[in-house]
């Protein structure tokens, strides 16, 4: 696929002799959404973590903008391809401190205005910035984690079960947010166990069953 921004090819993850992910290939273009739906234990989160380079792959390659991860450099790749887990850990300190952490790793200090803009992008009020991050609710944490990832100005977002730990209302907020991010040009690769949420996100849909990826039927 020529327009693919992120392309994973034949990704295989073997753990203790078991093939958790078996030759999975996916690719996402800018401003598009790809969802992988599957039951828990199907290997979808493992595939996402492998694409995020957080766990080793046994086989396969990941290309970002046509280049291999090693050629880009692993830390640079992770800035371009952001990963947000289902239950993101909040760092010590207030929300503003959390949002500044990604850029700080490359020596950049985000100003007050930039931090306010980031928290606004995930639909949270600026007065949250001074709150201790560990005091936030599940939905707020996820949004702060999204904003924290966005601080690096990534081109791809890898979302692991972004709605699983949330009540329906908070889940809807996140789904709208993801759709808006895709509209603004970010490529989204999300895994979810919810058929309904996968349908709401639309885009290209895959299913994963015992480590094997297959194209899902078109969105209803």
């Amino acid at each position: 696929m020529a327009s693919a921004l992120l392309a994973a090819r034949d990704v295989t993850v073997v753990r203790d002799g078991a093939r958790i992910v078996d030759r999975a290939s996916v690719s996402v273009a800018p401003a598009s959404i790809l969802t992988i739906q599957g039951a828990s234990g199907s290997g979808k989160s493992t595939l996402l973590r492998a694409i995020a380079t957080l766990i080793p792959m046994s086989e396969g390659t990941v290309l970002f903008d046509g280049r291999e991860v090693r050629a880009i450099g692993i830390t640079e790749y992770r800035r371009r391809v952001a990963y947000v887990p289902q239950l993101p850990a909040m760092f010590e300190g207030d929300v503003a401190e959390n949002l500044r952490s990604g850029p700080r790793f490359r020596g950049a200090i985000l100003g007050r205005a930039e931090v306010i803009a980031l928290i606004g992008r995930v639909g949270l009020a600026a007065d949250l910035l001074e709150r201790e991050a560990s005091d936030l609710s599940g939905g707020e944490r996820l949004r702060v984690a999204l904003a924290r990832a966005l601080a690096n100005d990534p081109r791809v977002l890898l979302l692991d079960e972004p709605t699983a730990a949330l009540d329906p209302e908070a889940a809807n907020v996140i789904l709208d947010l993801v759709l808006a991010l895709a509209d603004s040009g970010t490529a989204i690769l999300a895994v979810t166990h919810s058929v309904e949420h996968a349908a709401r996100l639309g885009g290209t849909r895959y299913r994963m069953t015992t480590g094997v990826l297959s194209e899902a039927t078109a969105s209803p």
Binding site: T53, L54, P88, G102, A149, N152
Partner: protein, 258 residues
Amino acid sequence: MSYVEIPLWRLAIAVLLVGVAILLSRFSRLALEKDLGLGAVRAAVQLIAIGYALRLLFAAEHPVAVFAVLAAMWVVAAWTSSRRAKHGPPSRVLFPYALAAIGVGAFVALVPVFVLVMRPRPWFEARYVIPIGGMMLSSAMNVVAQVFERLFASSRAEAATLEQYLALGATPEQAFAPYVKAALRAALIPTINGLVTVGLVSLPGMMTGQILSGTAPEQAVRYQLVVMYQLVAVAAVAGVLAATFARRLVFTRDAQLR
């Protein structure tokens, strides 16, 4: 040298002090009687054995013998510190790293002092090299054990946070830095406290020993100062090396958590 000798029968009187602790343990139901008893016996056996070993060593005054003893102490120190870390890799994996951290730490503290400051004659004189080498090795052992234990425990307890740091583009050095800082501070604080309170709260063992055996107090104090400065260097060098090795064991080459 002028000092009062302790005959064995009077040493036996001192054993009664352990008896006091054993009685208290029994009355308070601490269930430490066996540990106290065995500990007292072990201490006696080990110290009496080392007393005779040192006597032989001092009599031989041969560099090979002196360095063989130092090497044995070094290996035991490394083995002990690599076995203490409950949360980390098995001790056979940690052992070479502990050996390196303790060895370099002790080397940095010992060699300049023997060459430039104390200058024993001959340069390998066991009376100086063995006790001071032993102090440095045991201090390095404690620092390395503590740094390993803390860092491997944090890498497990804080795995989710560490992974988030990595996902945000942190290098393993950056992701691990807050934990390394906390572990090194904790490992260095006892040494720093020692520097600050020495002479006010405690008279250190070595100095006390020298004074008891007739050394002029102002000379005993100089020896003590040299040793304390050595201990600072040992703790810093062994601690930083142990932290560096721990980081290598916690993260893969591809900046992933193991």
